[in-house]
């Protein structure tokens, strides 16, 4: 029981990381209606920009995180503006959009590898001693991860429910043509969506790096299908579904380590994905017309 609760705690940490990432992916899918296969590389952009700002330029670590998050958002927005949007405007079919983002993942990964090399990096911060809260035990960094995810999730909720931009995003998600017809500047909304999606990917990459301590350029790619699993579990394009999916995937993968080797953690996520596609492909909270 003690071990179970301990792993449950780690489950919350993983769930926090996955929540940031799957909300970012899901928001963008909802608005643009195609999956971004280069998303894994955006994680790498975030974690390595933070490394540059903190280790190379010597900026304070918190400032590096903020700058790298915004930086990844800008990279994502520029990629959308100059590469993806032109394809969308030509009304290329879904096939081609997916292949374009798939090709983009190869390009971004290799650009990162040229800049940062293939070796492992670590952030210039000390490892704090574990903190025990009730039955759980966390490192200081893990508590920060949970706090960041909590604040961001509340922020996303407020954005979607209270702000003009969030309402426009939901409108586009339901029906892009109708949104355009009712006077929403869909180009602007798309731009902002890519910025937010990229920023969440970057931030997710940073907290992932905080959790695994030493990381390399491709650390984010292996996680891509875990994020897909969380997003599909919740219902693709559904933001709150993505949060729920992330929580389930995070907890299930970590708790599974009580019973089987932790080397199979990601295989568990894959299993959840497969079962979900076979039993309920529309997800726990289905979105209309997206499956």
């Amino acid at each position: 029981m003690k071990l179970f609760l301990l792993t449950l705690g780690f489950g919350f940490v993983s769930a926090s990381i996955y929540a940031l990432l799957s909300v970012g992916l899901s928001l963008q899918f909802g608005v643009t209606n195609f999956v971004n296969f280069a998303y894994g590389a955006y994680l790498g952009v975030g974690m390595l920009l933070t490394y540059t700002f903190s280790a190379t330029l010597g900026l304070p670590f918190w400032l590096s995180i903020v700058l790298a998050t915004i930086g990844t958002g800008i990279v994502s927005m520029l990629i959308s503006e100059f590469i993806l949007s032109p394809f969308v405007k030509r009304r290329k079919s879904l096939f081609y959009m997916l292949i374009v983002t798939f090709g983009l993942s190869l390009i971004l990964d290799n650009v990162l590898q040229i800049i940062y090399g293939v070796g492992f990096n670590e952030y210039p911060i000390g490892q704090s001693s574990p903190v025990t809260i009730g039955p759980f035990s966390f490192t200081g960094n893990q508590l920060i991860i949970i706090a960041i995810a909590g604040i961001v999730m509340i922020g996303v909720h407020l954005l979607l429910s209270r702000s003009r931009l969030g309402k426009a995003m939901r409108a586009m998600s339901d029906n892009a043509d109708l949104a355009r017809a009712s006077g929403i500047d869909t180009n602007m909304v798309t731009r902002w969506t890519w910025f937010i999606s990229g920023a969440l990917a970057g931030l997710g990459g940073i907290v992932l790096a905080l959790n695994i301590v030493s990381f390399q350029t491709t650390s984010g790619d292996a996680l891509l299908f875990v994020i897909f699993a969380a997003v599909i579990l919740g219902g693709i394009g559904q933001t709150y579904g993505a949060m729920l999916g992330a929580l389930i995937i995070g907890v299930v993968t970590e708790v599974s380590t009580v019973f089987i080797s932790s080397a199979y953690k990601q295989d568990i996520a894959f299993l959840v994905l497969v079962i979900m596609l076979l039993v309920r492909p529309q997800g726990l909270i289905p979105a209309k017309g997206k499956a």
Partner: protein, 341 residues
């Protein structure tokens, strides 16, 4: 001279195996519109399963571990490898070929690829982990009296013949009723459904046939090289096949083969001679991947139909007299009906 002859042979075998990979992907994507983002995993399955069927049981004292080790004769082991690829294709199809958007299939293929790559690397009991399998039995090695060039040229002939058979088969499939159904599904699955075709079954056929063909290429690859490790089937390799198909012309088998000549042989082999930068040994391979990725994107932008586009299907048309009936075809022909808008 003999080194040069051996090199030419290797180039030809590379060309023929990549032709086979691209023809397999063409059946999946070019015919049926199936996005297989892990083509190279099927090659690896074919190669690995050939190896573990043909090799003797693993000898633990060498610190080399793998499953099975059945020591079958090579023709049977080849069939086992090819069937293994087909089965993997079938399993992925079962998960993702139901009535779901093409995103899901792409996600499942990518996830399966990542998973199998990690598993075969980390679990050294499966296919000897990251070290990979080596000294795999090569057929005809004894016929060639272990003379490398004789073996290479025997293999050029074998892989060439296999490639021609696959090409012939792919063409037969293209013009068969099954191939027509595949292409119809690619254009509009709902319409084909409405005509009462079992689209799941047709797409599954394309998935399995394509995977099997890529598996054939995998078996040939390991028979020629005699070794395979995870480093030989990274995601980058999948892109080479995709770039070849998109550059050459999806849906056109000659185009697919031209594409693998241009991308897999001329570009990939040509850039092998760029001298390495001593300070960053990965620079040239990284740049090569960037160019391959750009090639994929640019070909979709500038020439999505490829260098050799798929030929438009011709149908028998009734000689219609009515001018309005004749204008039915397209907007430009519709001028007589057009009113000021």
């Amino acid at each position: 001279m003999s080194i040069f002859l051996g090199y030419v042979a290797t180039i030809l075998v590379t060309l023929f195996t990549y032709n086979i990979f691209t023809l397999g992907l063409n059946i999946q994507f070019g015919y049926a519109g199936i996005l297989n983002f892990t083509v190279i995993t099927f090659m690896a399955m074919g190669a690995y399963f050939y190896a573990v069927f043909v090799m003797p049981p693993a000898n633990a004292s060498n610190q080399v571990f793998y499953i099975l080790g059945l020591h079958w004769p090579w023709p049977l082991a080849s069939i086992a490898g090819i069937v293994a690829s087909g089965i993997l294709g079938y399993l992925i199809g079962l998960i993702a070929l139901k009535r779901l958007r093409s995103d899901y299939l792409a996600i499942v293929t990518l996830a399966t690829g990542t998973l199998l790559y990690g598993l075969s690397g980390d679990q050294n009991k499966l296919f000897d982990g990251w070290a990979g399998l080596f000294s795999v039995n090569q057929p005809f090695q004894s016929v060639a009296n272990n003379h490398p060039n004789t073996f290479s040229w025997i293999f050029v002939v074998i892989s060439g013949v296999v490639m021609l058979i696959v090409w012939w088969f792919a063409n037969q499939l293209y013009s068969s009723p099954l191939g027509r159904s595949m292409r119809a599904i690619r254009e509009d699955q709902d319409v084909v459904d409405a005509f009462g075709k079992n689209t799941f079954k047709v797409r599954m056929m394309a998935m399995v046939i394509g995977s099997t063909i890529v598996g054939i290429g995998g078996v040939l690859t390991i028979q020629y090289i005699g070794a395979l490790s995870p480093a030989g089937w990274t995601t980058g390799e999948t892109f080479v096949v995709w770039a070849a198909l998109l550059v050459g012309g999806r849906g056109n088998n000659i185009g697919a083969m031209l594409g693998s000549l241009l991308v897999a042989v001329i570009f990939n082999e040509g850039t092998r001679y760029i001298p390495q930068v001593a300070s960053s040994p990965n620079l040239v391979p990284d740049l090569r991947n960037i160019i391959i990725g750009s090639l994929v994107i640019l070909s979709i932008w500038f020439r999505p139909q490829g260098v050799l586009p798929e030929r438009k299907a011709k149908f028998f048309e009734l000689p219609l007299k009515d001018k309005y009936a004749q204008t039915f075809g397209g907007v430009s022909a519709n001028q007589e009906l057009a009113t000021e808008v």
